[in-house]
Symmetry: none
Subunit: 210 residues, 4 copies
DNA sequence: AATGAATGAGAATTCATTCAT
DNA sequence: GATGAATGAATTCTCATTCAT
């Protein structure tokens, strides 16, 4: 499981680092927080656990962050962006329609396997930072809906309620990521993705004969 | 939001009530715990909050339960069963294939709107009681996969990886329940369900002309 | 380790059993208390532990005893008497002087090995029931001093401060009982006792030559 | 009753003070604990009682110690060393044989009168920290046995089982310390010690005529 | 007499946050 | 900037004792 790489402009307002030394300390704190939250969860995590991992004194934490909540929020925002970026990067530029959704799912599964701790952190935000959690999933759903809209415009995707479809597709992706990414990553992605592609493409019903 | 109705054999081992009075007290504690966990979440919830709602002394909690964890587990198990029961009850006996999945989604959405606190409690189990959480979703996925198997046998559903499909369908249902049940229940279920039915039935791709 | 057999008239004042059934219940409570205090010590012991061992309901305890302290005091008194009785019984009637002390030590060592829990209970009374503890050791010291007085009168024991001697002898006995009775009972009593007899008889100094 | 002076390296592992201010606070806690345990006993003592005496906040206790048990253990270890040191200091360098035991007893009686709370704390360790209790008395017995061995080698003390003798002498000393030191310190030490010296020297039996 | 449910005061322990150095 | 000691509110859990049945 690779380490997360949060952006460096995540300090609480008025606490931005002013020196290179300060920026390095803040970065160590963010990396340490990603590990601590990923391993222990938000509530079990402790500031002292973060500073111990970061190798700083306890009080140093408050040089850059206001509270446990604020560093958590900073992380969630950052990771939400990472997930979006990974999904975008995993899709070929010219890809459209169901093909594009297939590639996005594959990219997401690879990302979930690579960054299980990110998965956990974002998911726990449902309780620890609901605002960021909603922002993450609403943003993701909007991006999916936007892709579907493009697919419709291109004549590749049928007309329908693309918001509902986007939430449905996102739910599929997330649960498949949990089951076949975080819990058990032994099944080849190449087995999972085609099953979903077929479902999205043509559904699962056998058309009644006429 | 209706109150949950936990089964009455949920005490910690060796702490089962031996009189009717005791059973009634334990029931009050379980109902109070459902409210407390639903409103505050597992970590913010407190034993004293539970007993305050239940109208008992603090110590009375420990007459029936060992810890906050143990009553939470008891609740999750119970609610997991409630969800399964509601889903089963919402499906007409002779229903098969995609029809059955449509009915199950509708039943689930109604249940999520009716019991938002259950939704929240089960979801938080991902962190507070992972064993029960896995048991819940694995059980649910197995039931869905079983229905798909029957649909395949009946010639209503195409061949395919029913385990992957089951997780995909479950993810769709859960996220739609979150978005259109718990977060915002103003959109008619009759608008959401057909969109998903169509997706399951025939997919969203426009078959390329030939 | 044999079970202690407390006398049956140990109820708290006004709570003496009035029926044979009641007397039996109280006896079960006393036996259970001896086990519980012996195993767990006064402070770790709990009333519910006692009633669990006795097979009675919690509330039944208070039918016969006022408090944890009162049953402990009852036990200590009773056991103090047991120790005295065992010491007396272990000494042959005609025995006098140092012989008698040797026999008393041997009897005490055998008793300590046989009733380790009594040893522990009496010792813990130093903190849990100081009045009974003092009464026990002052009574024991007086009996020893009385024996020494008789020995002096009989011309078997030299003149000296018999109170100080009694406390010295009692201390020897108690610590030997702890070390070679309770902690480790593998060394034959026949090895320990003669060493002490020789000490009491003639001391340990080699008389300086003349 | 003089205050105990515990050594300053007694913090729980990983909690050693890193500044002089921290060391001073820890010292205040240890002194306060000696008073609290001495007056109230281990079980009646409370962390809050200790911090109240020390003039610190409750949480400060946990900056240096893990639990009530751990500070108690630290104290017992420290006091055990104090007793040994006092005994050693009370014996003149060239003293040998029974003379040396006489001086050791006198030193111990003075120490017990001076530090009644130490007496109590070590004694209660029999129940609250049995490991330290055994270590204390086994160490003490070994030192006494070592002195006896030297006396034998010097031709001042007769051959015999010096381990048994050491436990006998230690028991004498401890009980005399309890009776004539802690419980009642009004009797001059100069009255007690000679009686014991005579006993050790020549025993108490009148040699039968022949 | 016996039962066991209910009580609530009390204790230990945690940890986010503040602050003096 | 960095440090780490100090704080104290909050929480969980225990258990002797009371009381209604």
């Amino acid at each position: 499981m690779a380490t997360a790489k949060p952006s460096s402009s995540a300090a609480s307002p008025g606490k931005e680092p002013r020196t290179a030394r300060g920026a390095a300390t803040m970065r160590r704190l963010l990396d340490a927080a990603a590990m601590e939250f990923g391993e222990s969860g938000f509530y079990e995590a402790s500031i002292s656990g973060i500073t111990r991992r970061a190798g700083t004194a306890l009080g140093t934490f408050y040089t850059y962050f206001d509270s446990k909540e604020s560093i958590f929020t900073a992380l969630v925002r950052d990771m939400s962006a990472s997930v979006a970026k990974a999904a975008a990067a995993g899709v070929s530029p010219g890809s459209r329609g169901v093909d594009r959704e297939r590639e996005a799912l594959a990219a997401f599964l690879r990302f979930a396997r690579e960054h299980k701790e990110i998965y956990r952190i974002i998911d726990e935000a449902e309780f620890a930072d609901p605002v960021s959690y909603r922002a993450h999933y609403q943003g993701t759903a909007q991006r999916i809906a936007g892709r579907l809209d493009e697919g419709v415009a291109a004549g590749l995707i049928s007309h329908g309620d693309n918001e509902v479809r986007a939430w449905a597709i996102m739910g599929m992706n997330v649960f498949l990521g949990l089951r076949f990414g975080v819990w058990d990553d032994s099944r080849p992605i190449g087995v999972i993705v085609p099953a979903v592609e077929a479902l999205l493409s043509a559904g699962i019903a056998i058309p009644s004969k006429r």
